[in-house]
Structures are given as C-alpha cells and as structure tokens.
Symmetry: C2
Subunit: 209 residues, 2 copies
DNA sequence: CGTTTCACTATGCGATCGTATTGTCAAATT
DNA sequence: AATTTGACAATACGATCGCATAGTGAAACG
C-alpha cells in the first residue's frame, strides 16, 4: 500500500464519517421514518446522491450509523465502578452514587444514543429486532448482571434484575429525555450540573439507607 | 332543531370521532412527522380527502386529536387517592402504593397518551410549546403540588418537587415505554399484571420505610 | 316540492420521498 | 504516458406527501 493509495481511502473514510455523524444526529432527533436521506446529506454539508453512494439504502445507513455510535461508546459497563471490590456498607453506598452518576452522565453526554435507543425501543418492528440482536441483548444482559451483583451486596431489593434495571434506567434517563418539556414548562434545564446532582441526590435519598 | 337536523350532525360527529381515534393512535405510534394524513384515513377506513375536509391541516388535526385525548382522560389527579386524609405512617405508605398503581395503570391503559406525550416532550418545537401551554403546564403543576403534599407528609425526601415528579414518572413509565424492547430481548411482557405488580413492589421496597 | 345546505368524493397540484442510472474528473495503476 | 479505478455529481424515476378545487348526491329547509 503506497502513500497515494491511502489518499483516496482516507478521503473516503472522512466523508463516510461525516455522513455517519450527521445520520446519528438526525435519526436520534427525528426517528427513522421522519429522517430523510436529503436532510442527513444537508446536515453533513454533502449531496444526497453521495450519501446513497456510500450507504446504499436508508436502512443500511441507519444500521451503520447505529454501529458506529455503539462502537464509539463501547460499553457503559466498562466505566462503571467495580462493585465487587468494596466491602463496608458505607463504601457500597458511595459506589451506588457513582454508578448513578455514571449512568446519568452517560445519558447526558450521549443524547443521540438515548434518542435512537428509546425511539426504537418503544416501537416493535424489524429495526428493534436488529437492534436487540446486534447490541441491546448484550447490553441488557450486562446491565442485569450488574444489578444482580448489587443485589447480592444488599444494595438493591430482591426482584427481577431486569425490572430493577428498567426502573433505575427510567428514573435516571426519563428526566433527561423530557428535558425540553421541563425547560419549556418550568424554565429548568435538566441537563445542568445542578439538576444532575439533584436527581442523583434525590434518588439516593429515596432509597433505603 | 328537528330530528332530521340531528341526523346529519350526528353522522358528522361520528366520522369526526372515527378520524380522531385513528389520528391519536397513528400520531402516538409514529410521531407527528412520520404520521401521514393518508395513513390516518386508512386506519379510520375513510378517504384522505375526508380527513382534510373535517380538519383542514395536519397540525390542526394533531391539535384536535390531542385535545380529544386529554378530554377523554380528563386528569390523572382526579383518580389519585387523597393523600391529605390519612394520618398514620402505615396508612400513608399504603396510599403511596395506590398512587404508584394509579400512575402505572394510567400509563398502561393509555399508551396513546404516553406515546404522544413522550414523543413531543423530547423534541423542542412549536408543538411542544402548544402542548405545554394547553395541557402539560397544568398537569405538571398539579403533579408537583401532589409531590409537595407527599413531602409534607414525610413520604418523599426533600428536593424540587419537579425533579421528584420526573424521577417517579420515569421509574414507572419507562418500563412500559420500552416494553417492546423487553418483550423482544427477554420475552417478558411489561404490561402484564404480574410485571406491573412487580414494578410497584420493587419501587416501594427501594424506598425508605 | 323546489331549493339550499353540506358531508363526502374525484382529481390534481407542486414538493419531497427513496432509489436508480449515467456522467465526470482526478487519483491510482500499469 | 496511457489506462483503469472510484469518489462524487446530475438527473430522473415512480410513489407519496400535504393541500386545494370542483364536483355529487342525499338530507334539511322554506
């Protein structure tokens, strides 16, 4: 592979990434059906035909965009504090706080992930099937395992880990999801540092000590 | 007004309601942009032009559909157990359980409301502005007031009622929102009676006694 | 009974959708 | 230097979008 071979390949990769970045944003904001190839091309500052050249169909573009998004984020669990390495109850509670912070920080710094995730998760169909098979199944399994571990440490009550995962995800993610509403109705920005702190604090205070 | 005058008015009202019912469903499932006048007409078993005849524009149809939905549901608070009339701590905790059940039952039996609500609440724009001004502002105020009341009874921790409202709404609503995902990934139906019970139980068990 | 009203249909407009085809021109290969 | 490759653009296809206009026919009215 000469230097010149790379020149074209590099340019190709650059535009592909431009398109994928724009696609992730638009899909997250509008959902699959409402997002259009043209709007994605405009967002990337490119021509519609070029998008179709690099990613043949809209569905394929969506899949590749989702793949690149998951690849970029890798996995939330990797950043989770290690629950197994603590012992005393006080330390465990501090770990729980850090876990909540990690989840909520993740949701705030990756609104595209939240957008695509919850839009597809709430509508049955082939895209959800694909998403589950290729990404979410593993994520859910890891999340459930983490919950089970926290349960074994007495940090969370008994019950299906999947249910608890949903409850905690909802308690921490939903406020960010509807933050445009909160902003409009009460003038409060849920993505602000104070609001994030407040949300974690409140949730911790609600839990048994 | 004779009997015959009513015949036409009644038929008019019948088709209008058919259209509104279909519109609520389609808007909730697909969101505003992805929903089309044609698909709504098809869902109602009518012609597209007839939809346009009764509700001139798509935006107007959406607004009237939302109005009819809110009108049908009236208000969640009306069905909430009266928190102010209890005294002992045990009774209060039972009230809290009933409140949670009321919220989660509401979300389950009105998926259209949840769908429209969370789709619009997560995207800034003129429709969210309209929704806030005409319905959600009042709903949020009533919900916050209820949280504040629960706080004064020592049932919920201190902190912004709005934050707590979001946390509780998320914890109870999110599991139903992503139930298609849970169904696909784990084969569990979150809308089942057992799952609802489990969700409420877990959330209550997580709270301080 | 003749006339008016009105719920509803047929048809078509321009715009945009996803997709396909063909052309262009610089870079890479031989 | 001649030739092939490939990133990208121009253009067009049929379908569907929201919306507008001109009817049609039965119910309501005088």
């Amino acid at each position: 592979m000469t230097n010149s071979t790379n020149r074209r390949a590099q340019r190709r990769e650059e535009t592909r990434e431009k398109i994928l970045t724009a696609a992730v944003r638009v899909f997250a904001e509008l959902g699959f059906e409402a997002a259009s190839m043209g709007s994605i091309a405009n967002r990337a500052g490119l021509k519609k035909a070029l998008v179709q050249y690099h990613f043949e169909t809209k569905l394929n573009l969506w899949q590749e965009a989702v793949n690149s998004l998951w690849e970029e984020l890798h996995s939330l669990e990797n950043r989770l504090p290690r629950l197994a390495e603590v012992s005393t109850r006080d330390e465990e509670r501090e770990i729980l706080r850090q876990v909540f912070r990690a989840i909520i920080d993740f949701a705030r710094s990756h609104p595209d992930w939240v957008g695509i995730m919850f839009r597809e998760a709430s509508t049955p169909g082939p895209r959800l099937d694909w998403l589950v098979e290729n990404h979410l199944k593993k994520d859910i399994e890891e999340g459930s395992a983490f919950i089970a571990l926290a349960q074994s440490h007495g940090l969370l009550p008994q019950g299906s880990p999947l249910h608890i995962l949903n409850i905690i995800s909802g308690a921490l993610t939903y406020p960010l999801l509807v933050s445009p509403l909160t902003k409009r109705a009460a003038g409060i920005s849920m993505a602000s540092e104070e609001s994030l702190d407040a949300t974690v604090d409140i949730l911790l205070n609600m839990l048994k000590p």
